[in-house]
Symmetry: C3
């Protein structure tokens, strides 16, 4: 009854939220979760010129369940190619998820 899945996590700047949601949709993923996040990355400054470590949670974290690794890598490649030269960001993957219940996946 359950189904294996990959979970792609993308943490990046909040200003990119709509553009990244569009990339996820276009790749054919059925959904995603997004939360406000703060944090620190390997760059010393963000695109805004403010320090990377901020208290105001100006990052977002996307979590996208995909039916296979290929779709996750495709989304990640697209986001990185378009934005990670100029914006803070990281994308990582966990391949061992198991979907127990979903309307459609």
């Amino acid at each position: 009854m359950t189904q294996r899945a990959s979970k792609l996590v993308i943490v990046t700047e909040k200003v990119l939220q709509k553009q990244i949601a569009k990339i996820i949709d276009e790749a054919g993923a059925t959904g995603y979760t997004v939360v406000d996040a703060g944090g620190k990355g390997s760059r010393n400054v963000r695109s805004s010129g403010r320090p990377t470590v901020s208290d105001n949670f100006s990052n977002v974290k996307f979590e996208i369940l995909t039916p296979n690794r290929d779709m996750a890598v495709k989304i990640s490649d697209e986001v990185a190619a378009r934005y990670f030269d100029n914006y803070s960001g990281i994308a990582y993957l966990c391949d061992v998820m198991e979907v127990l219940h979903a309307h459609k996946f």
Copy 2:
């Protein structure tokens, strides 16, 4: 010293937060973490009739560590049976967690 664990993730509508916390407690889990979340699911509209993609973070994401897969599946089954016909929601599992430090687990 460490202990294997399963991590159950449930993303659903915020109005269900208290009911789901109760199900988790009754299943015998020692704790959970909950964060506000936004996102998009496979349904076009939510139970509220508003569009699924919302900026106001009207979802919640539960993360529950359980000592075994059975407890996680029991919680997931109960939540899905009670609520997923009428509310947006997804439940998925990761079986490869390792608890390093906890007061009690």
Copy 3:
């Protein structure tokens, strides 16, 4: 092109946020993500004397990607030794992450 990684998750009280960020930095991790969180743990009360289950999201959840398990365990051990006798907290690890894109990792 991708790189294996461990993901350390620490959920604890928000008052410890700066101290834990310092421990992460000193361990040599290149970054972390932090989100506000609520929840319930195995203790009945928190250090503040308020009930553990709270609506006001007075916990934080750190997620730290590390290039190996040793760095994750070192951070976890340090945080637990300093704070988990007196504050609510849990630390757990997932060893099967794969970093797809990052400025530096």
